[in-house]
Amino acid sequence: AQSVAQPEDQVNVAEGNPLTVKCTYSVSGNPYLFWYVQYPNRGLQFLLKYITGDNLVKGSYGFEAEFNKSQTSFHLKKPSALVSDSALYFCAVRVVSSNTGKLIFGQGTTLQVKP
């Protein structure tokens, strides 16, 4: 079955420290991978995506993610966390359904950045 997993419900980081939010996937064929962020009582905002090309993808707000085909992972990273980065983060993968694509989301990881 095609799926995406975020193994951590919550990640706690001190402000200024690097952060990593983990994501692994299971799809047939080449994966299209995405990261979204959701602030409280808001919709999802697109951060970055991997379609093809360079394994290191840079996105909004200083975030980046590394595609690792052998480990089927697409971890989200940021060199120096900000308190304002505290939010709910979703990894998603585009999968085939009825000859079209649909986004399947991971369970979400709450990032808490403490001052």
């Binding site: 299209y32 808001r42 995506k49 379609i51 009825s98 986004l103 989301f105 369970q107 979400g108």
Partner: protein
């Protein structure tokens, strides 16, 4: 300008009622979606339309009926509301349904009492 807008933002209604949620996008996208986010924040796709044509219909009860009058609008009508329908419903749009990211609306928090 709001790219993907949903109305209403909050909806409280009694069991058994029928309600609609409206969605409009001004991005010129050809594909629109409805997602449901449950109390545990889990997101699941419900429907997808491409140029007014239904292309994805997940295992959603028949009480849920999407309608797309044109490619900029995708409404969701729910009949005979049940307690379990309480959730946040998100509309989204994208250009195509593959490599392009989806843009999400602010969500409609539906509470059935």
């Amino acid at each position: 300008d709001t790219a993907v807008s949903q109305t209403p933002k909050y909806l409280v209604t009694q069991m058994g009622n029928d309600k609609s949620i409206k969605c409009e996008q001004n991005l010129g996208h050809d594909t629109m979606y409805w997602y449901k986010q449950d109390s545990k924040k889990f997101l699941k796709i419900m429907f997808s339309y491409n140029n007014k044509e239904l292309i994805i219909n997940e295992t959603v009860p028949n009480r849920f009926s999407p309608k797309s009058p044109d490619k900029a609008h995708l409404n969701l009508h729910i009949n005979s509301l049940e307690l379990g329908d309480s959730a946040v419903y998100f509309c989204a749009s994208s250009q195509g349904s593959w490599g392009q990211e989806a843009f999400f609306g602010q969500g409609t928090r539906l509470t059935v009492v």
